[in-house]
């Protein structure tokens, strides 16, 4: 055995042919384990590892949350009173800082009297997983406190429509403008310097202006999403368009394409998959402007729900709302990614990180 490496790979081929020929027999032959490194730049992982890591990425933060919530020796800075004892201002169910509880306790030990009882607990703003889990359901079934207020699902839907219109209107103008900027130097010089300037102005700064012009209802909210998305969108799309290989345009010119055909038959189809990817990322940004937009004028949508629930100290509902936003975002993006693969069967750039096994 002078060359262990060579013999190992030989064994492997034997195993491979044996197992394909006869599935039943493959159990008897010891499999040769090939070392598969985890950290190689730009090399994808096996399907199994992808799945495991994907699940772990959610499991890790959940685990931390579980540990902090259910292990009394981790954090738990407060004491929840179960028996007020002889402390005048203690009430059952009340939360109090650990130091305060201990000093009152010590006072009673020296002066005599009924001792208060309590258990370690986390602040109200960190509900335990099971509380949030119930809230995920009950937040939908709880009737609003006042007749005029919206149910949870109504607030949620309202938020989604605001995002939809803000993002759609922005894209209807921003995508064509971005493509033109990326294609024609003249358009780029006319538009981009101003857009570069404008994009540094924070969208929320236009809130008061938007309300003054557009009223207090949905229009100014849509406008904020629009302002927040549009300027970035033009620049991002222009840059993506510029990355199209010039040789493709030159090839089309030698094949007799007219100027207009170069735009519609080469540039646009050439950048479409990348534009689609850009839009998916930009849609995520639009959500970050939602919270600002919904605080403008009359507070509305999911933001209204969250602030309202925080005021009532129903933090489990706040968490439930946040988690649902996350789920909506994740699910839309996964759906869009899947649709993208269907729309652009020739697009390979999405596969780079995909499984190699």
């Amino acid at each position: 055995m002078s060359q262990p490496g060579a013999s190992a790979s030989l064994d492997q081929t034997v195993v491979a042919t044996a197992s394909t020929k006869n599935q039943a027999n493959s159990r008897d032959i010891p499999l040769v384990k090939v070392k598969d490194p985890w950290f190689v730049p730009r090399v994808g992982l096996s399907a199994r590892r992808n799945r495991v890591l994907g699940i772990a990425s959610f499991l890790l933060p959940l685990l931390i949350w579980f540990a902090i919530s259910y292990l009394p020796f981790l954090w738990h800075p407060n004491i929840k009173i179960t028996e007020p004892g002889d402390v005048s201002y203690f009430k059952a169910g009340m939360q109090i800082e650990r130091e305060r509880f201990e000093s009152e306790y010590a006072k009673l030990v020296t002066s005599g009297g009924e001792l208060p009882q309590g258990e370690p607990s986390n602040p109200v703003y960190l509900p335990a997983p099971h509380e949030v889990a119930t809230a995920l359901y009950t937040s939908f079934t709880t009737e609003p406190r006042r007749k005029s207020e919206q149910w949870f699902h109504e607030s949620l839907w309202h938020s989604i429509t605001i995002i939809f219109w803000g993002f759609t209107l922005s894209s209807l103008v921003g995508v064509p403008l971005g493509v033109l900027c990326g294609t024609y130097a003249a358009v780029s010089r006319l538009q981009e310097p101003f857009i570069e300037f404008f994009r540094y102005l924070p969208a929320p700064a236009f809130g008061a202006l938007a309300v003054a012009i557009l009223g207090i209802h949905d229009a100014p909210k849509i406008a904020i999403i629009f302002i927040g998305t549009f300027f970035q969108q033009v620049l991002v799309i222009a840059n993506t368009t510029r990355k199209l290989d010039t040789a493709l345009i030159e090839a089309a010119m030698t094949l007799g394409s007219s100027r207009l055909a170069l735009l519609f038959k080469v540039v646009i189809p050439g950048v479409l998959p990348d534009l689609y990817r850009d839009l998916r990322i930009l849609l995520g940004w639009a959500w970050t402007y939602l919270i600002v937009a919904e605080l403008i004028g009359t507070s509305s949508g999911i933001t209204w729900f969250i602030t309202q629930q925080a005021r009532y100290k129903n933090f489990e509902n706040v968490f439930a709302a946040i988690i649902i936003i996350g789920i909506i975002g994740l699910v839309t993006d996964m759906l869009l990614a899947r649709l993208g693969r269907r729309f652009f069967p020739w697009d390979r750039s999405g596969d780079k990180q995909a499984a190699h096994a």
Binding site: L248, T254, G256
Partner: protein, 299 residues
């Protein structure tokens, strides 16, 4: 006594071929072409006073050291770049800007990734206003010709490098150009695929009415394909010699070991790499003391 060098000795067959060739119309005429680029600290002269003519159905290869302006020349012929001075005429008409009468095959893969092989080949035909059904039919004929009928509905990313270049050739020819310009089209291919592609190209060229200008930096390729070879020299890019290849057609691999081929090869080799003597002052080359054989390894 003045002996004719071996590479200029033509058999009667070969001489007759060149005689008929030169009687054909001039397809491409290049007159006093110069091109300089302005860069941050002055100008670079890529081409200086280049003149030559290509006859109808001629296969001309262009060879020369790296940076001598081969790509610049072919891009000017294609109309993708403008000459600083001089004229390019196609069938007597001055060229200005790209057009479907001059097809081009690039060194990099330039198939449209969003189109199938068939749609790629149809691209030029559709630009010419050919109806969809007719364009499909014609495209399929070209795809058959390059032997890729089984791959008509594949996307470019599903093809090998050699297949991609075959589609690129079909795509360029389908647009019915008068002349096909090729800039190191097989440069990225391995030797075996390359040899196959050369035979393919000669076979296609033999069967249709097309004139070819083909750039390469590979001596064997230049000789194997060409009727005449345009040898350029660098700094500035000038025509050094226009060589009539004495190898008879049809070309076979076995000819590469025979005198006409070898003498041509040797001659061009000397043109491109002139012998360097110790005293020559080569700018940019660092002279080093050679390490003796008796030196102990130091690592």
């Amino acid at each position: 006594m003045n002996v004719v060098p071996a590479y200029q000795q033509q058999t009667t067959d070969v001489r007759q071929r060149f005689d008929t060739l030169k009687q054909r119309d001039v397809t491409l005429q290049v007159q006093n072409l110069s091109k300089s680029f302005s860069i941050n600290d002055g100008t670079v002269t890529a081409l200086s006073n280049v003149s030559f003519e290509v006859h109808r159905r001629e296969f001309m290869t262009v060879i020369g050291p790296s940076g001598c302006g081969k790509s610049t020349l072919i891009r000017i012929l294609a109309g993708l770049e403008f000459a600083s001075s001089g004229v390019v005429k196609l069938n007597g008409e001055q060229v200005s800007g790209p057009g479907p009468d001059r097809g081009m095959v690039f060194q990099t893969y330039t198939l449209f990734p969003w189109l199938t092989v068939k749609k790629n080949v149809m691209f030029g035909l559709r630009n010419l206003g050919v109806s969809d059904t007719l364009a499909q039919k014609e495209a399929m004929q070209w795809i058959d010709l390059v032997g890729l009928d089984r791959f008509a509905n594949h996307y470019p990313h599903q093809l090998s490098g050699g297949m991609k270049q075959r589609v690129a050739i079909a795509r360029a020819l389908a647009a019915k150009p008068r002349i096909l310009l090729m800039d190191e089209p097989f440069g990225a291919l391995d030797a075996q695929t390359r040899a196959k592609m050369q035979s393919y190209l000669l076979e296609i060229w033999r069967n249709i009415d097309i004139t070819i200008v083909f750039i390469t930096h590979d001596l064997d390729e230049a000789i194997f394909l060409a009727d005449r070879i345009l040898v350029l020299k660098a700094n500035p890019g000038e025509v050094q010699e226009l060589i009539e290849v004495p190898v008879p057609r049809p070309r076979l691999a076995s000819q590469m070991l025979e005198t006409p081929f070898l003498s041509t090869r040797q001659h061009i080799g000397e043109l491109i790499h002139p012998p360097v003597s110790e005293e020559d002052d080569l700018p940019g080359v660092i002279r080093m003391t050679p390490v003796g054989d008796d030196v102990e390894p130091q690592w």
